[in-house]
Symmetry: C2
Subunit: 213 residues, 2 copies
DNA sequence: ATGGTTATGTTATTATTTTCACAAAAAGTG
DNA sequence: CACTTTTTGTGAAAATAATAACATAACCAT
């Protein structure tokens, strides 16, 4: 679990670097990247060091080299196929964003839903009935799925995905999914995130000993 | 920043407790709640202890009492109004989910967009032109906003929000927003989350010294 | 060249978070 | 009522993570 923050930060750095490159910069320094990414310069150097990424003493980092290194780490050269289960509000938003994912070399290749009215193409993505999901996963060697289904069905679908051979799940249902240790699960609970922001913004009362977030 | 995980976990616990209550349970124990929330029992007791929440030695925790305590902490009795800026793919998904937020006593009272075609009611929520946003915020004492706008406009809108008096922002644009320290910002970068899941699932190669996530 | 300057890379230090361990309270039992 | 069992609450210990410190390499100006 420890390495997860590290990776999240590296991805953040990459995002910033892409923006820097678009703005025409060639080099960054740990402090300039840090300012952009909201991270201390030392932290950045530490993160790079951990993944064996080297810069030039005195010269900072060459953005293009840095991006190459990061892309190598994140296997950015191959296109990464993922599937989407549940094409409702959130699922639809993600499907419609597919060209955004594609720019990052991620691609939703298929959606799945139990609602027959959803079985149609959405933004070029075929939405298929749930029954064919396991076969689709196996035949196409899919390893990662995005779940945007109601909480009540979430664990069941998680089990289906795991049985089909999925290795990573990004889950929007407000429930902590249980799966074998080797399956990576990221639970994104938007209500909780919103609520924690509201709490920190409004209710961080002194009498709870909470001074800042 | 330290307290943030704490709060996130408390919200997770509350979610689990609500489910337990719906299933007809009266009591939980740190280990049963822990199993459900994917957290160690000690961690749960520590979290409760930090917020002065007490259970019954030998008797665990009464779910109703626990929920009362948590609701008190999170100011759950009042309805919390938030606004939404950018009613595109993600913004629309959130707006359509408003009754889900309402169950948690959160409510999107208005949306704002620059696109004139978006200026209409969506799921009962009035979508208004950007120009009226600052006044709306001030007149209605709004403290928290959700941003679902393109990255290019995000910082500018963040500044507008902060100037209007917003104290907390939940941001979906893939950029690290900069704001005064006292403003709470939560950047939700869905691409990065997906990418980190993919990385951990597929690419945690031994030669990087990464064995598990 | 050479000396000064600057930004990295890494080690040491400090802070934070999690886990462990166990005393103490409550509840049940004979 | 003593004795056992169970589960909390918390201080101590261990593990992690973040920050600081600084030696070192590269560059620049003279
Ligand atoms: N939309 C939001 O803004 C939002 C916010 C917070 C949390 N969530 C959570 O995200 C999840 C999805 O939310 P949503 O608003 O998109 O819901 P939704 O009801 O709009 O969509 C759910 C989709 O899943 C499909 N589905 C239901 N059961 C299924 C099954 N067994 N197999 C396959 N497909 C199935 C439905 O047909 C529907 O298309 C929910 O768990 C919700 O609680 C959503
Ligand atoms: N949709 C996704 O699944 C997804 C995934 C990852 C990241 N994101 C990020 O979330 C953000 C929103 O994504 P989306 O897919 O909903 O985008 P979108 O283009 O569908 O919606 C953006 C909305 O913001 C409005 N807008 C643009 N500029 C504005 C301004 N200056 N003031 C007010 N409103 C303005 C647009 O009119 C539009 O309605 C983007 O930054 C995107 O990168 C989205």
């Amino acid at each position: 679990m420890q390495i997860r923050n590290n990776i999240r930060r590296l991805l953040q750095y990459r995002m910033c670097l892409i923006r820097f490159r678009e703005l025409g910069f060639e080099r960054v320094y740990s402090y300039s990247l840090g300012r952009e990414a909201g991270v201390s310069p030392e932290q950045i150097r530490k993160d790079f060091s951990r993944f064996g990424i080297k810069g030039n003493k005195r010269g900072g980092y060459l953005i293009s080299e840095l991006l190459d290194s990061l892309n190598y780490i994140f296997g950015k050269n191959e296109l990464q196929d993922v599937i989407l289960i549940g094409v409702g509000n959130i699922g639809m938003a993600l499907a419609r964003y597919n060209c955004g994912f594609f720019k990052r070399r991620k691609y939703i290749v298929a959606g799945f839903d139990i609602d027959p009215s959803k079985i149609r193409k959405i933004n070029e993505i075929p939405v298929l009935p749930m029954e064919v999901m396991p076969r689709f996963v196996k035949e196409n060697g899919i390893t990662v799925g995005i779940m945007a289904v109601p909480a009540i069905s979430a664990q069941e679908i998680c089990n289906m995905l795991v049985n089909a051979g999925i290795k990573g799940i990004m889950n929007f249902a407000p429930i902590v999914l249980k799966a074998p240790r080797e399956v990576v699960i990221e639970n994104i609970n938007l209500c909780n995130v919103l609520e924690s922001v509201i709490y920190c913004a409004n209710y961080a009362r002194d009498d709870l000993g909470v001074l800042e977030c």
